[in-house]
Amino acid sequence: MEYINLFVKSIFVDNMIFAYFLGMCSYLAVSKNVKTATGLGVAVIFVLLCTLPINYLINGFLTNNPWGVDLGFLSLIIFIAVIAAFTQIVEMVVEKFAPALYGQLGIYLPLIAVNCAILGGSLFMQQKEFAGLGEAAVYAAGSGLGWFLAIVCLAAIRERLQYSKVPAALKGTGITFITVGLMAMAFMTFMGISL
């Protein structure tokens, strides 16, 4: 039950985009059509799901190691190294075994290394002090799914937006920001939900 609660909470209440603005850069840049948005969303879920548990174990080792020294200050640099290395590995594996998928995702895979949502997930994991590996994995799956949901919704809205009359100065970036703001307001209705 606790897992379900955490899962639902991390999708809707603590949504990476609408509550914490994480991964905004690629969120705004890659949400022009639904197909590429879906690709990036899936890649983010996958990388979050793999790196967050790894970082959870590393974080546990850093703060509670056999030498009795608190190495917590190193966590930031190790997290980013794990994420960068992992995206590199994923990129190589996908290139080798699924060239078609690589062609579709190619540009977005390396982008993920500098996606704030991934590093943000690890940093929140550190801050929330999860009790076990399971909780960390559930949190990763939930927040990844929340990010996926957000980018696909925005892409769908933006596809429609191309046919509507927007004031010249608001076109493109401006109206996108306001759209995301309105979507975030809609997501605020989930606030305070717990199972």
């Binding site: 603005f21 590093l119 995301v180 975030a184």
Partner: protein, 206 residues
């Protein structure tokens, strides 16, 4: 040369502002704008990190092999961010707690990596330092504008000091609670972009 320095310094603040024109570094910028104080500390941290990262990587630019440059950049930036974080923890602990994960997220702030890739790798150290500082300042400017409105309308204070007098509240004035919540930060930035593009027609998208 003077004109060039002036251009490097002023361009990122208005015409090529990293947030409103290039749409970089939004990730960490919106969440820290609930209060002016947090926004100021965050801006200062970003100015220092972008400036120094640009400077250091510009010094190293001829010795880094192109293939591994991203890792080298990440290590340099991460080192600077950890330094800033530890300094804030030592001298401004409450603010550091309030900014929580967003200080750490300066590493993945697109402005830092973007300026290194676009400027520092092809220019002299001094020019790169100026470019980094100016881009940090352009980012800070937007942060401070957003935080100014959010704190004034949402809490009626600025830097923690009460601005809207008690008599207003007695007459029925109320703080706008929505401004403190996340959605308004996005809408405020949308409005800033609107104003800027109405003034500078050449920035409008077709």
């Amino acid at each position: 040369m003077d004109a060039k320095i002036k251009e490097t310094l002023l361009n990122p603040i208005f015409k090529g502002n990293p947030i409103t024109v290039l749409v970089l570094g939004i990730c960490s910028s919106l969440a820290v704008t609930v209060e002016l104080k947090g926004a100021l500390v965050m801006s200062l941290s970003v100015i220092i990190v972008t400036g120094l990262a640009n400077f250091i990587l510009s010094l190293l630019r001829n010795t880094i092999p192109m293939r591994v440059r991203i890792i080298v950049q990440l290590v340099v930036v991460a080192m600077l961010v950890i330094l800033v974080d530890e300094i804030l923890k030592a001298f401004a602990y409450p603010v550091e707690k309030q900014l929580s994960v967003y200080i750490g997220l300066i590493i993945t702030n697109c402005i830092v990596m973007g300026r290194i890739e676009a400027f520092a790798l092809g220019n002299k150290p001094f020019a790169s330092l100026l470019d980094g500082l100016a881009n940090g300042a352009g980012y800070g400017l937007i942060l401070v504008i957003v935080a100014f409105f959010r704190e004034l309308l949402g809490s009626g204070t600025l830097l923690g000091a009460r601005i809207i007098p008690e008599s207003f509240y007695e007459a029925g004035y109320m703080n706008n609670g929505l401004v403190i919540l996340p959605p308004m930060a996005l809408i405020l930035i949308g409005c800033i972009i609107w104003v800027q593009r109405s003034l500078q027609k050449d920035l409008q998208e077709k």
